[in-house]
């Protein structure tokens, strides 16, 4: 059984904030396949397309038949711990600060043996469930969980290094006014976030769920307009040093592409909120978060962008919004690279049409705010980088991976619901 973590003490401002050190992030190109799978929390290994042999470590040619066709496939995650050690002395600064560190050899039911991190509740010689997650350097690593769930298992200190669990962390959610805000605040409250800041633009203007929001334990409404640089900077000055998870939830969306709009006014608003809003937030909150990646139990852990899946492929019916989403998506990759030295995860949650006013004419299926909120919290608990929520988003990414050009043509045939 894992000892549950306790709420961290109030920070002593005279003490030095620990610098984030990182585990080794050097990998061969083949090994990055594990990282790509870990971004979505999938346990995948190379499987020879010709002879079916499962390969590990990642390589360039099959060690059974020399085929170079080694696609990555989902692998049954079962195995057994056949040897273990507790590392007490390490040449790496990152591990030195975190010893003792449990490591083991697991023989996979699928064939190969792997060296992996081992959860404290796995018994000697016990059955394990392997997961593939991103470590603080942003690279995929294998981690052995006990085959059966144990009490407080998510509080294992080695596992917490791979996740961005909201428990006892302080969260900022932008755009209290959006339909998602209430569901997000409820989900974070349920996940035991200690404070949930909700950024609110034009606070004097009423909106339906304000009272419900304010009633959630731990919620604090704070003024924030992501289109106003000064507003963003002021809030960052106030709470930037205690924002552990930031959920960039602001979105401006109007129907239409190019020729059915007579001007660039909405397009400019879409860029102001969806693209420049992300950049303003990142410029104001990013440096402090990146500097607090190793700041104890409630260290800065993750940055969440809620993005339209049409960032991947333009839906002409929402053509200008899709373009602004694509800009935000591209910028998120830049943010990810800039946050990485601090060990802060950037998680993009891609959604199809959400169940709200502006998507009203679009046909189902649509993503309900509560489903989106659950996906955000689950993704943080798993430490993911990419989450596709809802049938539309999952279908689109499958098609995109199979062939972006084919998808582009398909998208132009997609009915925008007359929007």
């Amino acid at each position: 059984m894992t000892s549950p973590i306790v709420p961290p003490p109030k920070k002593d401002p005279q003490k030095r904030t620990r610098t984030q050190t990182l585990p080794s992030g050097a990998r061969s190109r083949a090994a990055l396949g594990l990282t790509a799978a870990a971004a979505e929390g999938r346990f995948m290994l190379q499987v020879c397309a010709e002879c079916g042999a499962v390969q590990y470590p990642p390589r360039d040619a099959c060690s059974a038949c020399l085929s170079t066709d080694l696609p990555w496939k989902d692998i049954p995650p079962a195995g057994r711990l056949i040897a273990e050690t507790t590392v007490r002395t390490s040449t790496s600064t990152y591990f030195r600060e975190r010893t003792p560190w449990r490591v083991g050899t697991v023989r996979l039911d699928a064939g190969p043996s792997v060296i992996c991190h081992v959860h404290g509740d796995v018994a000697r010689g016990g059955a394990v469930h392997i997961i593939n997650r991103l470590d603080k350097s942003g690279q995929g690593v294998l981690f052995a969980l006990p085959a059966e769930r144990t009490q407080n298992m998510e509080d294992d200190p080695q596992l917490r290094e791979l996740t961005a669990n909201p428990k006892f962390r302080r969260v900022l959610i932008t755009d209290a006014r959006s339909e998602n805000a209430l569901a997000l605040a409820q989900a974070f409250s349920k996940a035991e976030a200690s404070i949930i800041f909700l950024g609110e633009a034009e606070g004097w203007r009423p909106y339906p769920h304000r009272a419900a929001l304010a009633a959630i334990p731990g919620v604090e409404l704070v003024p924030l307009d992501v289109t106003d640089t000064r507003s963003v900077a002021e809030l960052a000055g106030e709470i930037g040093g205690k924002t552990d998870i930031l959920v960039n939830n602001a979105r401006f969306m109007r129907p239409g592409g190019i020729m059915d709009r007579g001007d660039t006014i909405f397009a400019r608003d879409e860029m102001e909120v969806n693209y420049l809003g992300l950049m303003r937030l990142a410029q104001a909150f990013g440096p402090a978060m990146r500097g607090r990646g190793a700041d104890g139990q409630n260290s800065a852990a993750a940055w969440v962008n809620i993005l339209s899946v049409y960032a991947y492929a333009n839906l002409p019916a929402l053509g200008a919004f899709s373009a602004a989403s694509a800009a935000a998506w591209s910028l998120s990759q830049c943010l990810r690279a800039e946050m990485r030295p601090g060990g802060v995860r950037v998680m993009n949650v891609y959604t199809g049409p959400t169940d709200d006013d502006w998507h009203q004419p679009l046909p189902p299926p649509k993503v309900a705010p509560s489903v989106l909120a659950k996906a955000v919290v689950a993704g943080l608990k798993d430490g993911l980088e990419d989450v596709f929520v809802g049938d539309v988003a999952r279908d689109l990414i499958d098609r995109w991976r199979a062939g972006p050009k084919i998808l582009e043509r398909e998208m132009s045939e997609t009915d925008g619901g007359g929007a």
């Binding site: 585990p23 990998r27 040897a83 507790t86 040449t91 350097s137």
Partner: protein, 393 residues
């Protein structure tokens, strides 16, 4: 391997001479080039030769970068007609011997200088570990960065669970080697080691504790391979090569390493030498951790698989004992000088069988078995080899 059709050619007419060890240092500001030059010079001096007498050159080193054996020819002023660079770490000594012996036998070279050496700067061990091999970089170093300590801890843990070995059994190997090292003036470890001290040492990577680990040092080793008639003409004491084996990536389907490549080829090793384990006067195993020495005792036929713990309990492994093992103190007590760790046992074995080992000399040593083990590419040592050598009858 059983069933091989062609009998291998013997090494008759080729001998090993002029063993040289440059005393090790914990840290050095010098380079691998410097250490290799020292060992080469010492070996040539012992043989009464100059650089011009050497027409074959074989090098093993981890810290020569960006140079290889090629750069060393110009750096050291050699003009060889046969050149080799051996990247096999702890298996490099026997591998160098095998290649050089065949070159001399075939007439491609007359005198091959086999040299290994590495420098150890402050922090160079950490730098080497993080980029040791591609599989290590991708699949073992990110997991705790325990380096070889952690990899061998896993093998040791598995071995203990499978065969009921206890820490004390590994302690016997370490303590006997420390005893041997006290007789070796150049050993890095100079104080006696008791079983209590061994058992109470701090854990490094469970069940590997402090005295199971080698000390990375700077150092170099060398020997010459030449025709027997030339050695005789020069009046050089020399050792005969009676047999050798070499194997890489043996038993890849074993889920974790429990045996090395020796187990595949051990019958041929003794058959080619026309010898039995009983004929071996001393054994030099590759000993970066005691578990692997124990595996070599098993895989080289001194006892059955799993009987290593009982074997070390029943034998005295010191210089004066009934089973002299790693007589210079081995890497565990003399230090691990990078790739020279693949030479330390062989160079000491040559000294033993030509009776020039001095304070570590095993009385009446005539035949020695030397085994090498190298390169933890991912989860296990990939290279293994062995040789039986004898001095004059």
């Amino acid at each position: 391997m059983a069933g091989r059709r062609h009998r291998r050619q013997s090494y008759d007419g080729v001998v090993l001479a002029a063993p040289a060890t440059v005393p090790y240092q914990r840290f050095s500001k010098e380079t691998a080039h410097w250490w290799i030059a020292r060992a080469l010079r010492q070996s040539l001096q012992a043989a009464g030769m100059t650089l011009r007498d050497v027409d074959g050159f074989s090098v093993a080193s981890f810290s020569l970068f960006p140079d290889t054996a090629v750069g060393l020819t110009q750096h050291l002023g050699l003009t060889p007609r046969w050149l080799d660079h051996i990247p096999m770490g702890g298996a490099s000594g026997v591998a160098a011997l095998r290649r050089a012996a065949r070159a001399v036998q075939a007439g491609d070279a007359d005198v091959v200088a086999c040299v290994s050496g590495d420098t150890n700067h402050v922090d160079s061990f950490r730098r080497m570990l993080s980029s040791f091999s591609r599989f290590a970089q991708d699949a073992s170093y990110p997991y705790g960065a325990g380096g070889p300590n952690a990899c061998f801890a896993l093998l040791t843990d598995h071995y203990m669970t499978s065969y009921g070995a206890r820490r004390e059994d590994f302690g016997r190997i370490c303590i006997a080697q420390r005893d041997n090292a006290l007789k070796n003036p150049h050993a890095v470890m100079k104080t006696p080691l008791s079983l209590d001290q061994y058992m109470e040492a701090r854990m490094i990577s469970d069940p590997i504790a402090l005295f199971d680990c080698v000390m990375p040092v700077s150092g170099a080793e060398a020997f010459l391979v030449m025709r027997e008639q030339d050695a005789r003409a020069a009046g050089l004491p020399h050792a005969h090569i009676r047999s050798t084996i070499e194997r890489h990536n043996a038993f890849p389907d074993d889920p974790i390493q429990m045996r090395g490549g020796w187990a595949m080829d051990v019958d041929e090793l003794y058959a080619m030498a026309d010898a039995r384990p009983d004929d071996i006067d001393l054994l030099q195993t590759y000993d970066d951790y005691p578990v692997i020495s124990m595996m070599q005792m098993e895989d080289l036929g001194f006892c059955k698989k799993g009987e290593g713990p009982a074997f070390v309990r029943q034998h005295d492994l010191t210089i004066g004992g009934d089973f002299p093992h790693n007589t210079s103190g081995g890497q565990l007590s003399a230090g691990q000088a990078g790739a020279a760790g693949g030479f330390i046992g062989l160079v000491e074995a040559i000294r033993q069988v030509i009776r020039t080992a001095g304070p570590t000399q095993v009385p009446d040593a005539r035949t020695a078995l030397v085994s090498g083990f190298g390169v933890i590419n991912f989860d296990r040592g990939v290279c293994s080899d062995a040789a039986i050598i004898s001095g004059a009858a």
